[in-house]
Symmetry: C2
Subunit: 398 residues, 2 copies
């Protein structure tokens, strides 16, 4: 066994937060504190963007109580960023690593962050600087490849499923007044979270009745026809849509006058958005009373619906990243591997950062129904265990 | 003591649901099952509107387990309505009461429902038909008079406070990318719920930083100035607004092209809404990246953030209504009376329906700061205990 190098550890968080991204950070810190060759733990303030400005925060020894408190705090406690590292940033990063004797590097993030992480691992190797670099997965979008699922997804999915079930009951109760509720769910290219709206549906009356994912071209005529059909049948219609649905020409629905963000992407969050637009369209075309819910960042920051499975796994991947790095692993992302048994259980594995970087895993065909307006049982089997335990049950009068 | 009349009981739910409105229904049913002079329990399907169509649902004996399950189910399990009773509906109602030997009548609702309830009590009295009529308060808007607060408010306030704290941390983490989050909170005339966004704020960095309530005229210039000031100070700004904010001319903000609902009211839920409108305005006027959250009916239907105090009180007011009716009380609404001790505790009282009907209790001056852009400590002292126990605590690095 290799004698691990002594030195300092640097950890950062990147991209959109999740309700359990700090559990991964807590896992990193907790495990690092157990290794005598890890000297000082530094956190990046606002990820790589802050690091490039020299913003390293020394993290003092944390008590078990504070580790637990951090693990149950939503959003990125170190601060996050959406910064795309430029070619000429790399020499600067190397200099910072050397100056601070950083020998262990951990980046908690999604696709873009794994790309950054990969480039940093390659940089250290090419320059002959001994540093162990590990990616720690997180994203509510669940779109990282080579892992059964992503830490953060289960908790956001639970919020989506529970809020859909509840607001579905609300709509059902109000059916003599309201007709249609449309909920807009995060996920620009991947519809995993929108699909999760169906996970607690146990009954034909339960919400949702229709689901439209970014994986399928959105056809307005078909949508209007679907809403009409369900309304005729039940007297109310609950529709879940992924925020990133697009029409035949590839245009985002309801984002006509949207401004662009720093990356030149259409900022859906700054546009009217598809739910508001579709609610108006339903009202105009069918004369039905339609409202929309767009909980926005609440989906990824709600702390009272965290999946216990998700929180434990998020902690575990952080812990494992340190354990492996100290053993000499580098250039990998920790993955979750589902056990074969009937009872849900995940262990960890690893995947090469090279293979993870910039690959987006969208919802596969077998999880979407033929009509493209709902999910399949196979999806439910895959995703339900990720919501964790103590799922709500509701009463219904016969 | 009066010997209570033998006969049947009728209970209904009205108006917008709450996360605990079924706890009140469970309280009514549970207590009614203990009184031998209550023969059959009937529920109105979709309130008075369904009742007028003869939609009475016989509720069979419920087990303790089902009572508890019902009590933790959000939305109105019997179905609700927004029907304004017409003068010529009353004779029809009386006939239905007589045909079904209804001797106990309970209506769980807000201002409009208490008016309906009052008229029904008067009708029975005028016609010499012996029936005991009690109002059971519910509304997330907290705008019923003569009660310390309204069942339903505490749970919706908890969702508001927890989601604000979490999304505030999200914004703080993303401050190198996002600048402003605006959250739209229910409450057309009364800003109690929007005010509650501040209840878990413990730090100047915590959200929200600005709150605008329908109780104050919304001035765009002042708002833009406020946002600018906070942004300069912290680098990010979290704004909470009541959906019903209006400008100097009394126009709802962001509801320019709104359609009207069945009552001829501007349907804010069908309009763009103030948050989307203000996010666009901030972006245009200040060049800041602004997003908005509008969780809509999730605020009143979320079952994983129910306040235990609220659920217990909702059950208690339902129970008490039956207990009092069987003792011969009529024409009253059950109220919540706060104890004088340092530890929060409520008991029940009663108020005449006459005095409750159609009166709206808005947020008083002492709960709003002088600038009209935040709440006072007095408000926090009043409202914090209503959120219940086990409030979340988050970690923050020094």
């Amino acid at each position: 066994m290799v004698k691990a190098i002594e030195g300092n550890l640097l950890v950062g968080q990147s991209g959109g937060p999740t309700p359990v991204i700090n559990a991964s950070l807590a896992g990193v810190i907790s495990e690092a504190q157990r290794h005598s060759n890890v000297k000082t733990i530094y956190g990046m303030e606002n990820g790589i963007e802050g690091l490039l400005q020299g913003k390293l925060k020394k993290i003092p020894e944390m008590s078990e109580k504070n580790i637990q408190l951090l693990a149950s705090t939503p959003a990125s406690a170190l601060g996050s960023c959406r910064y795309k590292v430029q070619d000429d940033d790399y020499p600067k990063l190397l200099q910072i690593f050397k100056e601070n004797n950083i020998r262990y590097f951990f980046y908690i993030g999604g696709n873009d962050s794994m790309d950054t992480c990969n480039k940093i691992a390659k940089l250290a190797e090419a320059e002959g600087y001994e540093m162990y670099v590990m990616g720690v997965p997180k994203t509510i979008d669940n779109d990282l490849p080579l892992t059964d699922h992503c830490p953060g997804f289960g908790s956001a999915a639970r919020f989506t499923a529970v809020s859909t079930l509840g607001t579905g009951r609300d709509l059902e109760a109000m059916k003599t007044f309201d007709d249609v509720t449309i909920v807009e769910i995060m996920g620009r290219h991947a519809g995993w979270l929108a699909a999760s709206s169906a996970l607690l549906k146990r009954d034909v009356k339960d919400a949702p009745h229709l689901i439209y994912l970014p994986e399928r071209t959105f056809k307005m005529d078909k949508f209007i026809e679907d809403v009409k059909t369900v309304h005729k049948e039940l007297g109310y219609v609950f529709v879940a849509i992924g925020e990133g649905i697009r029409d035949e020409s590839g245009e985002f629905i309801g984002a006509k006058n949207a401004v662009k963000d720093a990356f030149g992407h259409i900022a859906i969050a700054l546009s009217e958005g598809p739910a508001a637009y579709l609610a108006r369209t339903v009202n105009k075309e069918l004369g039905l009373q339609a409202r929309y819910n767009r909980s926005g960042t609440i989906q990824r920051a709600y702390s009272e619906s965290v999946s216990d499975a998700d929180r434990n796994e998020a902690f575990m991947v952080g812990q494992k990243a340190v354990e492996l790095a100290v053993k000499g692993e580098t250039g990998k992302m920790v993955t979750l591997v589902r056990g074969e048994g009937t009872e849900y259980k995940c262990t960890t594995g690893t995947a090469s950062l090279e293979k993870v970087a910039n690959v987006e895993k969208v919802v596969p065909d077998e999880f979407i129904n033929a009509e493209g307006n709902f999910v399949t049982e196979a999806f439910k089997e895959y995703a339900l265990p990720l919501l964790g335990s103590n799922l709500p049950e509701y009463y219904r009068f016969k």
